[in-house]
C-alpha cells in the first residue's frame, strides 16, 4: 500500500485499488490541485506521509481504506492551509450535503438548498 508516485493510487498487483468512488475522487482532487499549483506534489507527499505515520502510530490497519482516509485528512489540511477555503467552510458544506441527501426524494438529483452555497 505504498505507491512510488504519491499522487498515484495504491496497487495490489492487479491494478489500482479503489474500493469506493470517493477513493478515486480524493486522488483526482489532489492531482488537479497540484496541477493548478495550489500546492506542490512534494507538499502533498510530505503531508500524506505524515498522516500515514500518525495512522500507523495509532495502529490503524494497513488497508486501502486507511490509506484513503489519510488522503482526505491530508487534502483537507492542505486546502485549508494553501487556499481560501477554511476547515469551517468544509465542515459547513459537509453538513449541507447531508441535509440535501436526507431531503431529496428518489429519482431527483441531490442539490444543495438555496441558502447553502
Amino acid at each position: 500500500m505504498n505507491p512510488p508516485d504519491p499522487l498515484a493510487p495504491p496497487e495490489n498487483g492487479n491494478g489500482p485499488v479503489f474500493d469506493e468512488p470517493w477513493h478515486a475522487q480524493v486522488l483526482a482532487l489532489a492531482d488537479a490541485l497540484v496541477r493548478a499549483e495550489f500546492f506542490t506534489a512534494r507538499q502533498w507527499a510530505e503531508a500524506l506521509g505524515a498522516a500515514r505515520a500518525r495512522a500507523e502510530a495509532r495502529a490503524a490497519p494497513d488497508t486501502a481504506e486507511t490509506y484513503y482516509l489519510c488522503a482526505i485528512e491530508t487534502l483537507e489540511g492542505l486546502v485549508a492551509r494553501e487556499t481560501a477555503i477554511s476547515l469551517e467552510a468544509l465542515g459547513a458544506r459537509r453538513r449541507a450535503w447531508e441535509r440535501a441527501y436526507l431531503a431529496t426524494p428518489h429519482g431527483q438529483p441531490v442539490m444543495l438548498g438555496a441558502g447553502e452555497k
Binding site: P9, G15, P16, V17, F18, D19, E20, P21, W22, H23, A24, Q25, V26, L27, A28, L29, D31, A32, L33, R35, A36, F38, Y68, L69, I72, L75, E76, V79, T83, A84, I85, A89, L90, G91, R93, R94, A96, W97, E98, Y101, L102, T104, P105, H106, G107, V110, L112, K117
Partner: protein, 216 residues
C-alpha cells in the same frame, strides 16, 4: 394500484435510494463541490481522471461470478435462479438490501441493462458505473432504439438475435452473463474472469475475446 400515496412512495425511495453517503464520501463531496464552485479546478478535469480509472473503481465480483458460471453448471443454475442469494452467500452483498437478478445471453438473446429513472446500479458487484450509464441519452434511447444504441457501442446483432432491455429499480438490479468465448477451454477461473469486462455485464458489449487479455 388503486391507492397511490406519493409521500409514502417518496419515503420508501429515499430509504432505498438516497441512502446517506458514508462520512468520508460526504467529506470528499464537500471538498469537491467547494473547489469546483470557486473555479479552482474544472469538474471536467476531475471527471477525466476518474473515467481513466473507472474500470478499476470498486469490486470486480461480477466478473468472478460470470467466470464461475462458465466453469460450474451447478453454480450457473444457482446464479440464474437467485443471484441475490448467491451474492449474499459469497459475502458480496452491498449495504443496501437490494435484490440481484442474473440474465444470460445466448445465441438467440442479448440482454442489456438500464435504469430509466435515475442510475440504479449494483456497485457491490460491478464496481463504479460508467458515466454514460447515468446519461439522460442512454437512459432514454436504450429502451426506444436498443439496436441502434448497441451499434454505437460496437455491438452489431444479427437479425435473429432478440434484445431484452432490463430496467433496474431501487429493489431489483441486474447482472448480464455474457457468453463464454470460444478458444478458452481449460482456462482457470482467474484467467476467465479477467476477460469479463464491465460493459459486457451491463450488456453494451457482447462478444468477449480471448485475445484481449490473458491469452499470451
Amino acid at each position: 394500484m388503486s391507492t397511490f400515496d406519493s409521500d409514502e412512495a417518496a419515503r420508501i425511495h429515499q430509504e432505498l435510494h438516497h441512502a446517506l453517503p458514508s462520512e468520508p464520501a460526504l467529506r470528499v463531496k464537500a471538498l469537491e463541490s467547494l473547489v469546483v464552485e470557486r473555479g479552482m479546478v474544472a469538474s471536467e478535469t476531475l471527471d477525466n481522471w476518474i473515467e481513466a480509472y473507472s474500470e478499476h473503481i470498486g469490486p470486480r465480483r461480477g466478473a468472478e461470478m460470470v467466470a464461475r458460471s462458465w466453469l460450474d453448471p451447478d453454480f450457473r443454475a444457482r446464479l440464474l435462479d437467485d443471484a441475490g442469494a448467491l451474492a449474499q452467500e459469497l459475502g458480496f452483498q452491498g449495504h443496501a438490501s437490494v435484490h440481484l437478478k442474473a440474465v444470460e445471453n445466448s445465441a438467440q438473446v442479448h440482454n442489456v441493462v438500464v435504469c430509466t429513472l435515475c442510475s440504479c446500479y449494483p456497485f457491490s458487484i460491478l464496481g463504479m458505473s460508467p458515466s454514460w450509464y447515468k446519461s439522460a441519452a442512454y437512459r432514454a434511447r436504450i429502451v426506444r432504439e436498443p439496436r441502434r444504441v448497441l451499434a454505437e457501442f460496437g455491438v452489431s446483432l444479427p437479425e435473429g438475435v432478440g434484445v431484452r432491455v432490463w430496467d433496474s429499480t431501487a429493489e431489483l438490479r441486474y447482472l448480464v452473463v455474457p457468453q463464454r468465448p470460444a478458444g478458452t477451454e481449460g482456462w482457470s477461473l482467474e484467467r476467465l474472469a479477467a476477460l469479463v469486462t464491465r460493459n459486457s455485464m451491463i450488456g453494451t458489449e457482447r462478444d468477449l475475446s480471448p485475445h484481449v487479455k490473458g491469452a499470451a
